[in-house]
Symmetry: C2
Subunit: 386 residues, 2 copies
Amino acid sequence: MIKRINGSIENIENLTFNGIKEGKNGLGIVVCKGSVAGVFTKNKIKAAPVKVTMDVVRNGEIEGLIVNSGNANAFTGDLGLENSKKMALLLAEKLEVDEKKIAVASTGVIGKQLDMSWISNRFEVVFKNLGNNRQKALAFAKSIMTTDKFVKECAFKVDDAIVAGIAKGAGMICPNMATMLAFIFTNAHFSSDELQLMLNKVVERTFNTTVVDGDTSTNDMVLLVSVGNKKVDSETFEKALNEVCFDLAKKIAKDGEGATKLIQVIVEGAKNDEDAFKAAKSIVSSLLVKTAIFGNDPNWGRIVAALGYSNAEVDENLTLAFKNEEKVVLVERGKVLGNEEKARKLLEKSNEVQILIDLHKGNGKGFAIGCDLSYDYVKINAEYTT
Amino acid sequence: MIKRINGSIENIENLTFNGIKEGKNGLGIVVCKGSVAGVFTKNKIKAAPVKVTMDVVRNGEIEGLIVNSGNANAFTGDLGLENSKKMALLLAEKLEVDEKKIAVASTGVIGKQLDMSWISNRFEVVFKNLGNNRQKALAFAKSIMTTDKFVKECAFKVDDAIVAGIAKGAGMICPNMATMLAFIFTNAHFSSDELQLMLNKVVERTFNTTVVDGDTSTNDMVLLVSVGNKKVDSETFEKALNEVCFDLAKKIAKDGEGATKLIQVIVEGAKNDEDAFKAAKSIVSSLLVKTAIFGNDPNWGRIVAALGYSNAEVDENLTLAFKNEEKVVLVERGKVLGNEEKARKLLEKSNEVQILIDLHKGNGKGFAIGCDLSYDYVKINAEYTT
């Protein structure tokens, strides 16, 4: 039985956490003794905290997590790595545990050294006030935000156990990089190997249809931590984990910088699943599609063009529709139906739209999640480091 | 001897041309008897005129060119193909030549049938006033424009001969599609096979570093037509052709929709040329880099991140500089020099910037051309079909 419940990580009794945000800088801590799995950026320039936390995940055991926002600690050389290790050490010393069991994450500007005096100073304040309640969960969630406009969190009950997660968004969803962090906790008991297997599968179907993919930032990280001993069978747990990750992925897309509309592209009838995924990704990444959706412009020709360069097997014999509460078919097996005005009204009515494609080539299915491209995206990113 | 000269195709005496633009619609004609080569979109959804003109290029002989703007005649099925052939026929009948020797090109909205009565009506007016002078060259250049803000043309003298070209821009340069058309004429004598060999090489080094690539529109087309009998050795001619194409490519980039700055990325020290090209393309395509440049923000961390996900072999031991009249080094073999304020001033000073990268991995060289991403890009593309 999987059921959404209110709040997020405060539903898991074995955790304590807290966070602080001051201007662009933030610091958050979660104390979480248990097993851990992780998925990391594929970017060849990896931030220092990614290197540190990859080692923690390799060992499979975790005691706590420390995250800062405002500075990515990426492209910071040996000193950066040293500083990441110092962040781990701050928490390890207080908890009296091995520093190799402390995960570290960072997000923010690339190429600047951390302000370690700010971090160690605020660390004391945050650590002193660790706890487990709604307010502390929000404090942690806010401490890791950068350009995010709202907190991204959720919790699901699965049998007797809980899975809950908190994330921060990527600057823009597809096709470009900007840090995405997600921290997921459960009181269901699994080994780190079991967690890793499930996390790999679920990330592929959720975050990787949205953001991560090959175009990842220097700092992307998804961690899954088991801190309890509740028994849940792994098949059921994986479903709950999928709910958590899909929920967070959609919230990230919805909060794409400057985004006014969530776009879901659902491709059916592709030659195979891989083709369907390619086609969906190509559409959701097209700047011309994204700007058209922002302008409530049912310019489906741009969708067709994005399909044409997606490398999926496509020809003009395709079906294309827009959907939210209602559904408007624009092209039916290659025939243009002239429903542009209906489609425009559909777009104007909602801040979510599904683009449905049937390629009539086979049984392949795939989807991708993204957002529109607005003036505010340009504004936010033209003025980021100033 | 290769030398830039004023104007464009009016320098070639064997051509006549003219064009008309009314609102979003335009029609242009060039009468050009000779041999022809072409490079076309790789998009799997090819517009009708692309199919027609590919056949002309396959035969290698051309008598004339007819182009319309405002409607791409793409995704228009059998009727669309019939209409493209009718456009060819209009010109073929007047010239009393085989319609299979008339090239056709279109640019504009996808998925709408051509207004053939407008086309045949305006065809009469344009054809009646064909000629060879500055004003007619401008009329043709303007007739093929869509969101272009300025005419893109150039001419070079090579020995005794002339190579001249007229182009229209893509909606946005990298990574997305929107039609690019370029028509290049010469009175130097070459067979269609010779033209094709040279055109393939030159397009790869010019337009394909800017726009075309895999992410092409349904309608992209570059034609090279030889209408004269001047003798030029092919090596020299290829250099002149490269000048023409590079000049037009830069003009297209500079006029990227809403662009305020031309960006040239020059990568050296890559493992090989392929890696250098990948790295340059990745930087010039990054939305975060493009918006930073728009905001005069020397956020070189985004450039490093784009290098990291480019699939080129890179590590932190790289050198990164901005250049226009002066040069500001931001990173020297991995060392961050703290020159951000100097770099900001450099960006503020000019509407062109070179991003210079040395990867210190080998002797590979490559470059890419693009433009920044501004509010106006969003505006233009959110309201295109309305």
